[in-house]
Every structure is written in structure tokens, then in C-alpha cells.
């Protein structure tokens, strides 16, 4: 079996250079590749184009890269409560392409499936449609959206084996599987790296063929953005 293991995040991102395009998995702060983001912040790689549903928060995740002005362009679906992201967007310091979330996922998927473009109804008649080809199928209009091209896809999984097979946990799966398939080079950081044979082939979410480098991450913070609780049963 082919061994994809690298020692750590620094080694995994060693050849990511200024001006490259990266895909980063995660939804909000859930399932983000914390180790690789921290390594990129430490390395100071700049002029990056980042494809990621969100841009972290002010002081965590991709937000750290925005603070350091490492990002030239963000391609995302949601700014939300990230004040620094919104500030850089409104002031024009950061180029931002906001696109529908399903379009974002499907443009990743198209890249991973080897298809140059997809047609989606999302954004027809809105400013998202500007400059895009509209095609009518069975009486309904669709936008043609091109597959993404990314130099690196950086994903986070729960478990992975030395051959690069990945298993995700809960909703930390989100964009990670489609991005894992879409990078020219895909880096996977996992909470637990196991030997080949330890993952049930029936349970593998991302086959190792898509993964070029894998390492066991450490010190996962897994910050919660909106801690929301229900009242204790007796209080209801």
C-alpha cells in the first residue's frame, strides 16, 4: 500500500507558496484544518486565494490569515458574524466573491468528478448571475458554473490510515469530502492516524487515491461558535 504520511502540518504545507489557490474544508469552525491553518499563519504565505464556505472568526481559523493580510481573495458563501472579514470586504481591502453555498459545494464536486462545469438554478436573476451563461432546460433557467481549480485542498477528517483513506465524524464532514477530491494536491489532517487494515473499507468516506499527504494533527481546539443549550428537563 502506498504510504502518504508526512510528519506534521509544516511538512504538509512546505510547498504552498505565495499566490496559490487553496480549498479549506469546514463549515463555520466545525471541521476546519486547524493545524494547517496555524502552520500557514506561522509561515506567512501571502497573496492567497482561499475557497472556503466561511472565513473563521476574528481570532480563529481563516480569520487569523485575514488578520495578517495573507489572503488576496476569499471565495465563500457566508460572512456572518466575522467582523474583520466584513470590514475588509466593505473597505475593498479584500477581494471577495460571495457565491451560493450549494454552488460552492457543487463546483468543488465538479472538480473532483472531472467535470468542467455544472448547471444550477441558484442565483438566476440575481447579481450572482452577472457574466455567466444562462441555459434553459425544460422551461427553467440555470446558470453555468465552472469547476474550481485549486493548487491545494486542505481537509480535516476524524480518522485516516497511512494510505490516505478518510473517515469523517458528524457534521464536521461538511465540505471536506468534496474538497478532498478537488485539489491538485490534497492534504488531510486527522485526529487519529491508523495503520492500513484498521478502517473497514465499507466505512471509508474518502478513498485514499484522492489524498496525497496525511498526518495526525494535535492540540485540536474545536472551538464552538454558537453554544446553544436547551433548559434542563425539570425546568420545562
Amino acid at each position: 500500500m502506498i504510504n502518504k504520511v508526512v510528519t506534521d502540518a509544516d511538512e504538509a504545507i512546505r510547498d504552498i507558496s505565495n499566490g496559490m489557490t487553496l480549498m479549506l474544508g469546514g463549515f463555520g469552525l466545525c471541521g476546519i484544518p486547524e493545524n494547517c491553518i496555524n502552520a500557514l499563519v506561522k509561515k506567512g504565505t501571502s497573496d492567497l486565494t482561499c475557497i472556503s464556505n466561511n472565513a473563521g472568526v476574528d481570532d480563529f481559523g481563516i480569520g487569523l490569515m485575514l488578520q495578517q493580510k495573507q489572503v488576496r481573495k476569499m471565495i465563500s458563501s457566508y460572512v456572518g458574524e466575522n467582523a474583520e472579514f466584513e470590514r475588509q470586504l466593505l473597505s475593498g481591502e479584500l477581494e471577495v466573491e460571495l457565491i451560493p453555498q450549494g454552488t460552492l459545494a457543487t463546483r468543488c464536486m465538479a472538480a473532483g468528478y472531472g467535470m468542467p462545469a455544472i448547471f444550477t438554478p441558484a442565483g438566476v436573476g440575481t447579481e450572482v448571475a452577472k457574466g455567466k451563461e444562462v441555459r434553459n432546460f425544460n422551461g427553467k433557467d440555470y446558470l453555468m458554473e465552472a469547476a474550481f481549480e485549486a493548487d491545494f485542498a486542505i481537509v480535516k477528517a476524524w480518522k485516516g490510515d497511512t494510505a490516505g483513506n478518510l473517515v469523517y465524524r458528524s457534521t464536521a464532514r461538511n465540505f471536506n469530502p468534496v474538497m478532498a477530491m478537488a485539489g491538485k494536491i490534497t492534504i488531510a489532517e486527522v485526529e487519529e492516524l491508523v495503520e492500513v487494515g484498521e478502517l473497514d473499507p465499507d466505512h471509508v468516506h474518502t478513498p485514499g487515491i484522492f489524498v496525497h499527504r496525511i498526518f495526525q494533527g494535535r492540540d485540536y481546539e474545536k472551538r464552538i461558535e454558537q453554544r446553544t443549550n436547551r433548559k434542563a428537563e425539570r425546568e420545562i
Binding site: 458563501s77 456572518g80 470586504l89 460571495l98 453555498q101 454552488t103 459545494a105 457543487t106 438554478p121 446553544t228
Partner: protein, 218 residues
């Protein structure tokens, strides 16, 4: 006049047994608290979960388990988890029966705007553009007027659109309205204590009033 929970409660009466439902952020999230007894539904969260359960008890939060509003949640027996592309596959192929979301503006043609105020505020569209472009049935939960007292039910939206001719029904603090195919807000119900004149005053788009307008049941 209804408060936010009142709007959520009224919308909950639109939900039928066996529905798969996607709830947006804000008032729509509250709808889950008012699903009538005996109605079994499955909540879809577009970040990759079918069968969203209630919020966790304190101390039982799982950072890997959140909804599309990034709130900690739980799963239920029978829940399923999947990736983002598959999630929007079930939305685009109309497996989700009902989408409930908030809006900044709705036009009498059913256009909706809810993601951006140019130069002032950009939240992003998230999954809303995909949802409104594909959903079979869309109900909007919103305030009838903004803080300045200006109507948000307009002849044309002034803000950048999220989707065109897609909204079917609107529930506000004042009324339940339906968008009719030829355009216009058809008044279906009044909120308790609200008159047709109050609603007329708060509606800038064409309001269609036919016969007696009943007060809504909650």
C-alpha cells in the same frame, strides 16, 4: 400583533405530517418549538444533517455537531449525516418539502432579498439562494415594517435579490399573506387585534383584499 414566537407558532400550522423541512436562521429556527402534536417531520440542516434534534443539555455539546446556524445541536434516532454537495443535491432535486426563511424585503411578485445591504452590511447568501431557487414551497417569516416604519412588502425589492418569483407565503407580526401568480399580496389572515387598515398602511406593494379577512388561529 404577534411577537417572534407568535410568527413561529403560526408558521408551524403550515407544516404537514411527513414533511422534510429546512429552517433558516432567526424566527424560522423557533418554528421547531411549535410543531403540533401528532405531526412527524424531519428537519434538514444544509451543512449536512437530516433529522436535527433539540439543542443539547449543558455539558453535552459536541463541537463536531452543529446546524447551519452554527448552533450546537443533537441528532435523533434515524438521523443521517452527509457532505455539503449531497445536502444541496436533496435541496435541488426537491426532496425538501418546505423551506422557511427570513427576509429583509419581499416584492409583490415573490422576489426576496435577504443577504446584503450595499455599502453597509454583507452577510452572504449562505444556502438561501440554492434553497429559494429549488424549493417547492417557501414561507417567509419577517417583520412587516423596518425600524424606521417603512414597509418591507414592496412593489419591487430595492436590495440585491436572493431569488426571483419564488416566495409563496409570508407570515409577519400583522398578517398572513399569499403571493398570487399574477403578482400581489393576497391578505389571508389578520394577527389578533390588527385591522385590515393597519395592514394596508404597512404594505407598500399591492394588497389584495377579498371579502372578510379572518383573525388568525394560533
Amino acid at each position: 400583533m404577534l411577537d417572534k414566537d407568535g410568527i413561529a407558532k403560526r408558521i408551524a400550522r403550515e407544516i404537514k405530517d411527513g414533511y422534510y423541512v429546512n429552517l433558516g436562521i432567526g424566527i424560522p429556527t423557533l418554528v421547531a418549538n411549535y410543531i403540533p402534536e401528532g405531526i412527524n417531520i424531519v428537519l434538514q440542516s444544509e451543512n449536512g444533517l437530516l433529522g436535527m434534534g433539540p439543542f443539547p443539555f449543558e455539558g453535552e455539546e459536541d463541537p463536531d455537531l452543529i446546524n447551519a446556524g452554527k448552533q450546537t445541536i443533537t441528532t435523533l434516532p434515524g438521523s443521517a449525516i452527509f457532505d455539503s454537495a449531497l445536502s444541496f443535491g436533496m435541496i435541488r432535486s426537491q426532496k425538501v418539502d418546505l423551506t422557511i426563511l427570513g427576509a429583509m424585503e419581499v416584492s409583490e411578485k415573490g422576489d426576496i432579498a435577504n443577504w446584503k445591504i450595499p455599502g453597509k452590511m454583507v452577510k452572504g447568501m449562505g444556502g438561501a439562494m440554492d434553497l429559494v431557487a429549488s424549493a417547492k414551497n417557501i414561507i417567509v417569516a419577517m417583520q412587516h415594517v423596518n425600524r424606521a416604519g417603512e414597509s418591507k412588502l414592496l412593489p419591487e425589492c430595492s436590495l440585491p435579490l436572493t431569488g426571483v418569483r419564488c416566495v409563496k407565503k409570508i407570515v409577519t407580526e400583522l398578517a398572513v399573506l399569499e403571493i398570487v401568480p399574477q403578482g400581489g399580496f393576497k391578505l389571508l389572515e389578520r394577527a389578533p387585534g390588527v385591522t385590515v387598515e393597519d395592514i394596508q398602511k404597512a404594505t407598500a406593494g399591492e394588497l389584495i383584499i377579498e371579502g372578510e379577512i379572518p383573525e388568525m388561529m394560533l
